[in-house]
Amino acid sequence: MELNQIAEEFDQCIKCGLCLATCPVCKELLLEKYTPRGKIQLARYYSRGDLPLSDQYRDIFAKCLLCGACTVTCPSGVDLKKVFLGMREEIVGKKGLHPMMEEVVRSVITNRNIADEDNTERAEWREPLKDLPEHLYEKDRAEVAYFIGCVASFFPMVQKIPQNLVQIMDAAEVDFAVLGGEEWCCGFPLIGAGVPGKMEELIAHNLEKVKALGAKRVVFTCPSCQQTWKECYNTDLELLHATQLIEKLVQDGAISFKEMHAKVTYHDPCDLGRHGGVFEAPRQILRAIPGLEIVELENNRAKSVCCGGGGNVEMADADLSGTVAQKKIEEIERTGADTVITSCQQCVRTIKSRARRQKRNIHVMDITDLVVQAMSGGKKH
């Protein structure tokens, strides 16, 4: 991103400070330099040549969840997230990678995944599944490509998510395939690390593999993968989040739910909700489950507060990510719900890990977990 492009954005900032109201980071770190307004000021100082990119600059700009809450709040329409991403890129250009992000960048470039594992291990999530079809979902042709994403492929805590979605799609007789070891990281972590320029090979590869399937649409359980495809892949393919697909399957009667008695709340993931604009699909799914009581969080939809898992902050400052997650947990507890449902493996991980560490008794589920539980009829073949 060119510096003058981001300058257009921060020139619009009137320093009113309203962004401070919704930034989860500055609520924890207090000082003005950590506020969105402060970061805009630092970007402006740098661009005018008034301050050099110091180590503190790098630290400050790494302490941002890229959750976009400030952008939504800004009365002058400044795209703050764009400025912060631009600054991360600028900082890498001048000072090199953030030390805490070197590993993930190296892994994505060399292994094609964030987990520093051989990419053929990507299919390991399948192992616990019984009745796997012969093709192991790696078919040659399919109407729908399911892009699983690194986190759900490699992190045991959330491998249930792809296990769930394939069961759901099987039950609804969706013609789908996964790419197995040929799925490469979508490139999302590289954007947050300030090296979007290194995404090209990943993009080209993933597009080629999906096209080879003859797929018309790609379905994602990871909102960040979906958002990255939407913003960077420049493709005509229909890009659907799992909640959008499931909503449609419910509408078409391809799957149905039995009664469930629980009080749940729903956390809107930043990339699905605020950035992707998908607020209603997950709620429609929840409403379709008979007996389920749904209570909204105080801050819901576009006002949803990040779980703490965004912006590579978990890598740059794990404590900060944890204290933001803590606030999320407290907000969830105030609803009186037994369970929080969300639609993102990263949100599940972040909230669950913090709750475990703090011994908080809240139940965290991905929406696909709930759907599988509520489905009646099970597999049709």
Binding site: I14, K15, L18, A21, K33, Q41, L51, Q56, G77
Partner: protein
């Protein structure tokens, strides 16, 4: 610049973590919501009244300036280090110390955010009425220092009206307490109210006792569209004159409505020259009658359309245009000057006509927003500070607007403060004797001119 020995002394008072002087910190405490920036020499974040007292004693001994800053949302330059020195921030003093439901009051530290207080008292069926537009960010300490108002001011008044008591560190470092939980107190001079609106020039507020009121059970929100700006302004003074006291009565003119529409906000009918947003609150039955009364009033006075919200969501929708207004206007040109000259409500139609006339005369783009119910105007001057020729025209227009407001018995500033935004006009509102009294007060409190120097009295006081 402050010397190494002062830096060491400040560090030893607050601890290393809370004394900041990196270039990044200085750059980010150089501004508030007003236009000019001033870089401080250091930023200090004290954790107690005692630390603040020590800092002020040191400042007087070593003669360095201290400027208190809440959330930095004021738009008069009240919290910038106009002559350098140290910015004092209140991030660590942000506790609600007590919610006293028996005496219906709350005791808070200065760094508590206004909306957080509102949220904390709501479960008790209570409300803290002052609601400045910055309420989700601005602090109670800053609200007191600036005597913040807000849309609800028509019915509920401003910060001053809810202030019961204070703890204050005086500029020399002594600590005083004023008022308390009593609703009535006539002992001595009213130092509580003197501190309120003093813009951080008389003392540092370290504890605040505020009065709360019962949360009104019902609310009605109406929107009236007028094809004539003058009719709208007249409807405002007629409503107020009729004995109905709305909670809020906001006016938006055609210029601003157009900007909102172009910005992607609500679009209004072509003949809309002004919009009134009116709210009444209280007992449900009363709200019902008052709502109807206002509806009839607006129609009788030329409203071409009156809409009443049936649900909270609909009410929120009606508010959306008003909330979008400032940002939409502000993003049009490089700068937007938000004025807040205020007149007795009966004169509202006249002052609005004057503003429209001045916009034409000086070829400026000015939109009019107003907390119309209390005569508090917010003309939005869309301009470019870098354009000297245009700024000269802006200055002339402002001067004429203030002269007109003064002639109508108004004031330079309804709720934003004087600061460095309007200090040059102060003698329009006060005669020499009144200004001398203010200078005298300042000297009694702050003989060395340590606290928030360069603020509104500075042009009369070269010692600062």
């Amino acid at each position: 610049m402050i010397s190494k020995s002062i830096v060491d002394a400040l560090r030893s008072i607050v601890g290393d973590a809370w004394f900041l002087d990196s270039p990044e910190d200085l750059a980010t405490y150089a501004y508030d919501g007003f236009l000019p920036e001033f870089k401080p020499d250091a930023v200090i974040v004290p954790g107690s009244t005692e630390e603040i007292s020590q800092i002020m004693k040191l400042a007087n001994r070593e003669m360095f300036y201290v400027t208190p800053r809440g959330a930095g949302t004021n738009i008069c330059g009240g919290s910038v280090a106009k002559k350098g020195g140290v910015i004092m921030a209140f991030h660590r003093l942000s506790k609600i110390l007590e919610i006293d439901t028996q005496n219906i009051c709350a005791v808070v530290q200065p760094g508590v955010v206004n909306a957080d207080l509102q949220q904390a008292v709501a479960p008790y069926g209570l409300m803290y009425p002052p609601d400045p537009a910055s309420m989700f960010v601005s602090t109670i300490g800053g609200n007191v220092a600036l005597n913040a108002g807000g849309p609800r001011g028509v019915k509920y008044g401003v910060t001053r009206d809810y202030l019961l008591g204070l703890e204050v560190v005086l500029p020399m470092g002594d600590v005083i307490r004023t008022g308390g939980k009593v609703l009535k107190s006539v002992s001595g001079y009213d130092l509580t109210r003197l501190m309120c609106g003093s813009e951080g020039t008389l003392g540092i507020i370290t504890e605040i006792t505020v009065r709360l009121v019962p949360l009104p059970p019902a609310k009605a929100t109406l929107q009236a569209i007028f094809a004539d700006l003058d009719d709208a302004a007249k409807a405002v003074s007629a409503i107020i004159g009729s004995g109905v006291v709305p909670t809020t009565l906001e006016l938006i003119d055609r210029v601003v409505l157009d900007v909102i529409g172009n910005y992607g906000g609500a679009k209004f009918r072509k003949d809309a020259e002004a919009l009134l947003l009116i709210e009444v609150d209280g007992e449900a039955s009363l709200v019902e009658t008052q709502g109807k009364k206002i509806e009839t009033f607006c129609k009788e006075r030329g409203a071409v359309e009156v809409e009443r919200a049936g649900t909270l969501e609909e009410a929120e929708k009606l508010w959306e245009a008003r909330r979008t207004a400032f940002g939409a206007v502000a993003s049009l040109r490089p700068n937007c000057i938000v004025e807040d000259a205020t007149v007795p409500v009966k004169r509202l139609p006249e002052i609005i006509r004057k503003i429209v006339e001045l916009a034409g005369k000086y070829q400026l783009r000015i939109g009019v927003l107003a907390h119309a119910g209390d005569g508090n105007l917010h003309p939005l001057i869309m301009t470019d500070l870098r354009d000297k020729e245009e700024m000269a025209r802006v200055d002339k227009a402002l001067e004429e607007m203030y002269e007109a407001a003064m002639a109508m018995g108004g004031t330079l500033s309804g709720e934003h403060g004087i600061g460095i935004a309007k200090n040059r006009f102060l003698d329009m509102e006060f005669n020499r004797s009144a200004i001398e009294i203010m200078r005298g007060i300042k000297k009694v409190f702050d003989p060395n001119g340590i606290l928030n120097p360069g603020s509104f009295l500075s042009i009369y006081d070269n010692n600062e």
